[in-house]
Amino acid sequence: MAQATSPPEVVRDATARRYSSDAAGLGRLRAGAFVAPAMVLIAVFLVFPALWVIYLGLTNYRLTGVEAAEPRVVGLDNFVKALSDPTFWNSTWLTVQFVLGSAVIGQVVLGFTIAWLLRDRRGPLKRIVEGLVILAWILPSAVVSFLWVALLDRDGGTLNTLLGIPGFAWLLDHPMLSIIVFNTWRGTAFSMMLYGAALGNVPPSHLESARLAGASGWQQLRDVVFPHIRGHILTNLLLISLWTFNDFTPFMLTAGGPDGKSEVLAVYVYNVALKGGQLGYGAAVSTVILLINLVVAVFYLRLLRSKK
């Protein structure tokens, strides 16, 4: 029988956003009360110290000496010093390589590849692969860094044994490569889980239509899968870029060396502020790092908004 009815509420998502989202009837006051405890803690132990760091960047505060007892405000001197210091720019460039290599390329590509390969499987194989990848992420940094120090050791390290090139000093001769591969290994799990969940949300009917239209695996990826998970890719990239940018763990493998060849910004700050004792200057550099993070975040958010 021909039904002359209007189509069901497939616009549910659009209309749902019109209805009141306060499903439990919290009201603004109670909502404020719910948020307050977290905000208090954040304000005291995060916002306040963070603002203090920004303030410190404007002083000549040092760990020892006259400036420790009586620091003076020196305005933007520290910032000027940082921006004209070639070591700082070297560190920035190294950090960019680190982020691009291990996060943007390494973790994303590897994480997605694993999620894609295992997308239709349920059995022990999936559990084992996922388990190992997650293990790499869950183990404490002190342990995994040391595992990689052991792996890359020039004399007894397993890598050299496997490749048959004893005496090859990975950490000395190729420090950036080492820390990039290490960080890729370490962080892939997060991306893998995110893409796994996102792929699970791609409607199989779309993939099947593409397949029936003759699309190859690669074309299906490009035309059906990527558009669906674009938002997730961007969120993922944002988070891991920020985390990697501020990551201190490379220190545990190379201590920034040899000769600053792997001195990413987090290590640079450590060297300058704690080893060198220049806390004011170190704080200024931290503030610059924060600003760079901000720029990166805004860039990603713009991309996210435009793609919607």
């Binding site: 029988m1 002359a4 209007s6 189509p7 069901p8 209805y19």
Partner: protein, 356 residues
């Protein structure tokens, strides 16, 4: 048991969208009332406003004799079934049914007994220990119904109660729901986009469009005498023929043919004025011989409806549909004549029904 009354009810969203535009409605105690309309017409917003989940920007909602416009949802003494049933997945069926009583602080033993009683009434007694995830769609619906029955509220609100069931089940559920409501006698308002469902179940209905109520009436009234062209086009499993025409003396010139003025519009028309002529395909009699006052043309399509056929005639270049009983269906290409029933045809002026 209570009547529901809406007085000038208005809801404007923060963005400026008017979802409900000054609605007036009275639903008497015990009635099974349908809110029918296309997506976005405001029917669900209206239901939610009666429940209290949305706050009205103007006007009043009265339940029983109480103005509940400013009252919290939990204190209005209504119970609601959502489209997805919203059965709490971590509680078993018995706890789900007993939940409203738990809120009312009824003792554990008493509420378990009550849940058992209501559940048994709906045929759920062997499922009381199961989790909602282990139930079929039809069973889940009955649990949701049991839960509202346990509240003993003054009014029930159902949001698209049958949409989540598959087609076969839906028809059975329709009959079940109508019977249940009759037995309980509780004022019930339900929202649906399916006009057949509304016609079948409701005692009376409101047809809505873009925040306005376009017609309130019994299913028979809405079906036989739609108040405007919107309702006329929306109601009916086969769409009503709505044909442009002109008044010519005591006949109407429609699609190039002369038809008689329907009894409902007798004596109210002015010569030469443009009108819309409406007649349902079910209210046409079909013949292969020319008949005076009929719309004649060539058969374009014949659709099988089971015990009858839907014939589409091309009258000039205007499609006109008629329902033909089985055994007398024509073949495409033949000439046919559809004669509208004088007592069922309607005339619309500027979209509104013309009445004598």
């Amino acid at each position: 048991m209570a009547a529901i009354e809406l007085r000038g009810l208005t809801k404007v969203y923060p963005g400026g969208v008017t979802a409900l535009d000054s609605l007036d409605l009275v639903i008497p105690d015990g009635e099974f009332f349908a809110l029918l309309g296309p997506s976005g017409c405001g029917k669900t917003t209206l239901l939610r406003t009666i429940a209290g989940l949305e706050t009205a920007t103007g006007g009043a909602v009265v339940i029983g004799d109480r103005d509940v416009t400013g009252v919290q949802p939990g204190a209005r003494d209504v119970a609601m079934v959502f489209q997805d049933y919203a059965l709490f997945p971590h509680m078993d069926v018995a706890d789900n049914i007993a939940y409203p009583l738990r809120i009312k602080k009824v003792a554990k033993a008493t509420r378990r007994d009550k849940a058992q009683e209501v559940g048994a009434r709906l045929g759920l007694d062997h499922l009381m220990d199961r989790r909602p995830g282990q139930l079929s769609g039809g069973q889940q619906q009955r649990v949701a119904l049991a839960r509202v029955m346990a509240t003993q509220a003054q009014a029930f609100l159902f949001d698209e109660p049958l949409s989540n069931l598959d087609a076969r089940l839906r028809l059975e559920a329709r009959t079940f729901l109508k019977k249940l409501q009759r037995e309980l006698g509780v004022t019930t308002v339900f929202v649906t986009h399916d006009q057949a469902e509304a016609l079948a179940m409701a005692d009376r209905m409101a047809v809505m469009e873009a925040g306005h109520i376009r017609q309130i009436g019994t299913p028979a009234e809405v079906f036989q005498r739609p108040a405007n062209t919107f309702v006329a086009g929306f109601i009916g499993s086969t769409p009503m023929n709505l044909l442009d025409g002109v008044v010519r003396g005591d006949t109407l010139e429609v699609a190039g043919c002369k038809v008689r003025v329907p009894t409902s519009a007798d004596g109210t028309l002015t010569d030469g004025e443009p009108i819309v002529f409406g007649v349902r395909p079910e209210y046409m009699s079909y013949s292969v011989e020319p008949v005076e006052g009929a719309l004649g043309g060539k058969v374009a399509i014949v659709e099988n409806l089971g015990a009858s056929h839907l014939v589409t005639l091309e009258v000039g270049d205007v499609p006109v549909q008629a329902v033909v009983p089985e055994g007398s269906e024509p073949s495409p290409g033949q000439t046919g004549y559809a004669l509208p029933r004088r007592d069922r045809a309607l005339v619309y002026r500027d979209g509104e029904l013309v009445t004598a």
